[in-house]
Symmetry: C2
Subunit: 197 residues, 2 copies
Amino acid sequence: MNPSDLERQLAFLREIDRLKGIVRLTPLIDRSRRENSAEHSWHLALYALVLAGHAAGTVDVLRVVKMLLIHDIVEIDAGDVPFHVPSTHAGQAERERLAAERIFGLLPDAQAAEFRDLWFEFEAAESDDAKFAKALDRFQPMLHNAATDGGTWVECEVTLEQVKSRCRPPIEGGAPALWTVAAQFAEEHFREPPQES
Amino acid sequence: MNPSDLERQLAFLREIDRLKGIVRLTPLIDRSRRENSAEHSWHLALYALVLAGHAAGTVDVLRVVKMLLIHDIVEIDAGDVPFHVPSTHAGQAERERLAAERIFGLLPDAQAAEFRDLWFEFEAAESDDAKFAKALDRFQPMLHNAATDGGTWVECEVTLEQVKSRCRPPIEGGAPALWTVAAQFAEEHFREPPQES
Ligand SMILES: [Ca+2]
């Protein structure tokens, strides 16, 4: 490998440090602050390692982990658009596509192509690996919401029906046993009297 | 897989959320704040994916990534002890061993054993996978220090000789090409007049 490949690799690794500054709506479980997209990606990679046995299809754990480690890197340019705030979603797919080209393009060509392809596969959510990865990306915030008296469900003023219609297809499609648990979390929360904000 | 396995897995995934609150000395590259151990682990997993071609031995990338994703989880109980502050290191190995037993022990038995074994393998730094993982764990802070006018080198008042004697063996042992670059970073920094703090 020639020195300029290593320089490109280090430029990419420096650039993605910025993902630590992209803040999501989701609270940490201790409610001390909101989660950033870098630590979120770390957490999801652990979800994949620990919960792989619950995947709907046959999954390649390394590919799923790679997808989850890189899935939010586009937010460095495109920002995070909260799942439960649909008004922010317009134009986001195109902003993220441009971001994927620029940021993964910092890498040597073969690695850039591999990461871009993995990112597009994740976004398409059609392969078994991508379906499982997407399921985890939707499941983890539900677990945080359940552990924090509602989290973004309360903040975004969503209904139980909205949570179910938005979260059931991706979670059930990638990890049916996790949807069973997630639906229980949501039903338990929405049974309680509404929280004062 | 029975429901109680899933409950143990979710208890583990909730517990490790606390790693996002363990703050290291290393600054983010934009110097906005210090890095936490969860986002640090995410970053290192990306280092492994991107830099695997520079490993000294033959490495299994999935095993290296797993090691890096879990290597700091013990800090939830044991805290982070800064590499360049040796006075904090006494007793840390034993605190971390107890933490590994408790935290990985939240998982179903087979997964608990796998994660414990991987963590001990990382700590021992004898296998090719562990040597490469350790090299990355030592290399990443050097890159951050170089990008922030000295970072913890300045804060901990270390000399070029201390940086070399502490960092060369683990980095060169796991990824010789990265040591060449890291030594250049350090030499460049220490050639400059000392920074005012
Ligand atoms: Ca996202």
